[in-house]
Symmetry: C2
Subunit: 268 residues, 2 copies
């Protein structure tokens, strides 16, 4: 397993490729079974697999969320070694953002709704760093979880609009046994909050599939107040605009104590 | 010479490359000796050379400038055949901007000064289309004239910031015998205006190299009124911010009748 901390080291890895396919799983580390499912799929579908670990400062709209983001490089690397990943790209913020960095990639419409207004600059940070990672790694396929549905759509759109030569593979959300979508931020939940988070996930399912899905039902099922909810929306899976026509996606972001969690349900 | 009107056709051209180098000259057609000097240099430095002809609608801030932009595909293709160019990419606007296109690449600081305020959205249009063209053509090197100095700097910055794997080659401005910088827009000048345009180019040189370079001297030498001048500025070649420290670049944009012309002088 090659551990590259410099962009130049990733470039030199290409020498191994010579026409073979490369799968890529970009992460912010603190790997969980959700990430591992992406890695497994990449290994199944490609000759080589690369994983990046980079807690990207530009996509955090709250400084504390960035500072509190859990990091455990040793554990992550041990996991990746076990999974027989071929390349891990572990850049510093300085390696990614040189002095006088000033270029942004912005996917306008899709970044606007859902999490957009609640996380100003977040998707711009995501699309920019993913564009950079794609240029650095040059993968054949890249794997993203459907838990971050809006992120997935933003990246698919960016790839189409900028003619990037990478296939985006959308992978189903991996859940804990109790139904909670896996997320690095789950570890911030207290035992009590964790119970509430599970309730939220179930409520989202119920409210999404109800004959008349809506916020009122969602709040009741989730045992949440309106003030705890950034949004609960039924949207078109392609445009992310509000719709009542199936197939749709019900997506929500809520605060359980001081932790913001998101989830979504696809209704065919 | 392969003429590709579809992106897929360009992709299939890569089969010829197999480790060989590809030079790329993006143009808006109406080719002149300035373009040809870029093509010659590309042919000298690469195994293959590709040229794109695309009058990019998103970089025009004035609809009439776009509509009046001179097009002569037959003549351009004959010239390129003569130059033994390997690939010409001639997409339609629809091929480049599919429905629901919404992604922008923006180089923030460098797009702000000089032409920036006078051509709102222009550099965003340029950086976005060039990012697309680079993804489509995937050249080893790309050639840009120094006449469009700000454009060159914006693109160099974009390539660095997004880690694009292409080398930007800056080529000296090619001039008519009388000193006027070659430009497709020159053909819009009347005989009288043309004389004035030459005066402008000379004035820029004089004002740039004067012990105390400044707008007053420039206006006097160019025989222009302040209202005809978008800007005359002495800027740092890297940041494009105003400076008095050499090396600097004196850059100006002026209106000769209804035609806007730009030029710049490097003072070492």
């Amino acid at each position: 397993m090659l551990i590259a901390r410099k962009i130049a080291a990733v470039r030199s890895f290409w020498a191994h490729l010579r026409g073979k396919s490369l799968g890529f799983v970009p992460t912010m580390g603190d790997l969980h079974d959700g990430h591992l499912s992406l890695i497994c799929r990449s290994k199944r579908e490609n000759d080589f697999t690369a994983v990046s670990i980079f807690v990207n400062p530009t996509q955090f709209n709250q400084k504390n969320d960035f500072l509190n983001y859990h990091k455990d490089e040793r554990r992550d690397l041990a996991l990746l070694r076990q999974e027989k990943v071929d390349l891990v790209f572990l850049p510093s913020a300085k390696e990614m953002y040189k002095e006088s960095f000033q270029t942004e990639v912005n996917v306008n419409d899709l970044s606007r709704g859902l999490c957009g207004p609640y996380r100003p600059g977040h998707f711009k940070g995501v699309s920019t760093v993913v564009a950079k990672l794609f240029s650095i790694v040059r993968p054949t396929r890249a794997y993203f979880g459907m838990k971050d549905f809006q992120q997935l759509k933003v990246i698919e759109r960016m790839v189409q609009d900028l003619n990037l030569l990478v296939r985006i593979v959308a992978c189903p959300t991996v859940r804990e046994k109790d139904g909670l979508a896996m997320s690095s931020r789950n570890r911030r939940l207290s035992t009590q909050e964790r119970v509430h988070a599970v309730k939220f996930s179930r409520a989202l399912k119920v409210a999404a599939r109800a004959p008349k899905p809506g916020l009122a039902l969602f709040l009741k099922e989730a045992d949440l107040y309106k003030k705890d909810v950034d949004y609960f929306e039924i949207v078109d899976p392609q445009t992310l605009l509000p719709t009542r026509k199936k197939p749709y996606v019900a997506a929500a972001a809520v605060w359980i104590g001081k932790t913001r969690i998101i989830d979504n349900v696809w209704v065919p």
